[in-house]
């Protein structure tokens, strides 16, 4: 049988819902990650976090028992920071304190850009109006991602997406989305290891952000049935996903990748 992968050189891996759910490791993930490392494939961890800085993520992952280095982690927060730096703009930041660490050293006086992450304490009229007036004056609108809502202990809660959408409506300006599923997000993570999209596969639990986004960016995508996965999610894709690319969990994804890698050689 021919390999499903033309010439695989890198694996992008989602964190929450794929390796762990909050403070619980998804069974088998730690060992599977170690096996994957031995294969020599380049690994990058790509996540749409907007509340947690990279150092916060790393300390949680290591306390759970994962062996992951700082330079391997790509977050949408850091992607927003690099966009802010490359545009040379001064952002008005919709971010909670935990996340501000990743923006240390960025000039924020007299803002000429609006960066929206998950910031419940700022999603109220006065901050929204301030952002709107900046947009009227020509500021860029940057969304860390556009998730509609997320799950908390108290139930569903509004994510940044609705507030980004509201600002887009009022200002007539389309936001630039930096996290998954933006193709740039995947390609930046890959260019860091010198790998082309067609030489990489993304593993994640979010069918649209992880798998759909990866396919749009020219990667392959493997959907794991953990985390936020719900039965039939693969049917939401506009692209066709071979059933062998839908697996029970991260350990099964690694088995699949390693088996295909064997047939590739």
């Amino acid at each position: 049988m021919a390999s499903c992968f033309r010439s695989l050189k890198a694996v992008l891996i989602d964190l929450s819902g794929t390796l762990h759910v909050e403070n619980d490791v998804i069974p088998g993930s730690i060992e599977a990650l170690n096996r994957l490392r031995k294969s020599g494939l380049a690994l990058r961890f790509v996540t749409n976090t907007t509340k947690e800085s990279r150092s916060f993520l790393l300390s949680r992952l290591s306390s759970l028992g994962f062996d992951i280095k700082a330079e391997e982690v790509f977050t949408s927060l850091l992607a927003a920071r690099s966009l802010v730096e490359s545009l040379k703009v001064r952002p008005y930041l919709f971010l909670e304190d935990e996340a501000l660490e990743d923006f240390q050293g960025i000039e924020t006086d007299n803002p000429n850009a609006v960066v929206v992450g998950l910031a419940p304490s700022m999603f109220e009229y006065n901050h929204m109006n301030r952002a709107f007036r900046l947009l009227q004056d020509g500021a860029h609108l940057i969304a860390i991602h556009k998730s509609k809502y997320y799950r908390t202990k108290e139930g569903l809660s509004l994510g940044p997406g609705p507030f980004v959408e509201g600002l887009e409506f009022a200002s007539g300006q389309k936001a630039r989305i930096v996290g998954k599923p933006a193709p740039d997000f995947f390609s930046t993570a890959l260019s860091d290891v010198g790998v082309k999209p067609e030489e990489a596969v993304m593993v994640g639990d979010d069918v649209l952000l992880d798998v759909g986004g990866a396919l749009d960016a020219g990667l392959q995508g493997i959907l794991v049935k953990t985390g936020k996965y719900r039965e039939g999610d693969e049917g939401k894709l506009k692209q066709v996903l071979n059933t062998s690319f839908v697996v029970s969990d991260f350990a099964a994804a690694v088995d699949f990748i390693l088996k295909e890698l064997g047939t590739q050689k």
């Binding site: 419940p120 109220e124 929204m128 709107f132 009227q136 609705p162 959408e165 509201g166 409506f169 009022a170």
Partner: protein, 280 residues
Amino acid sequence: MLPNYTVNIMAWLRSPIKGVMLDISGVLKNGNVAIPGSIEAVQRLRKCGLKLRFVTNETQLSRHDLTEKLRRIGFQLHENEVFPPAPAMVETLKGLRLNPMLLVHPKVLIDFKDVDQSNPNCVVVGDAAEHFTYERMNSAFRLLMELKNPKLFTLGRGRYYLEEDGLCLDVGCFTTALEFATGLKAEVVGKPSSSFFATPLKDMGLDSSEVVMIGDDIESDVGGAQKCGMRGVLVRTGKFRPERDENHPNVKPDAVVNDLAQGVELILSSESFKSLIKHE
């Protein structure tokens, strides 16, 4: 280009005008300040016997308080000439036997005093301004996600309006946010909804072709009025922005005038209006 433009300017004055609907914010006043010439312009319309109604998406004040506020600024008008969304919303809720969760400004609550708000089975969003908090948005969102037949109403869908200190976000921003989160489409009670314009039209006893609507919102005022057969005139006051509003992709005003005073002057000096007066 110029001759064509002149023809267009005249076209809206050719058929008889028997009534005028006026938007309030951005046409009569900005914030608490009358727009120069507008107090006199309203008086001139009254003297000439034209029927007059004030049709607004204002939901930061009750109908009564809004009327009082305009009187204090210097306008002469009666509460029953003012048509804001809240009373229309109350009628809709009663007709459908719905209990709302009200995401509105506290000052407009009095208009909803006879509405049962226990066990809510729909959400009504108004211009709550600084009362838009994450907690209130989230409660509305959770209710809409829990309901078997969720219904979302919005008192207008404006993008922004002008206050004394600058442009301010209007209800549309927050309604759009809830629509995006829930996947629902909100029903608009207010301009530009045709059924909202129908009430003041009926009250005037005029056909829509006999009425001109004057406003500073190209979509809610001009677009909405044109959709139900009125002429829609845009003023260059309030939130008006030439680069955006004079080349709107979907709405072409019947006329663009500098302000209400100029619009009224044009109406009263038009041949069709003068001949109407003569005949009566």
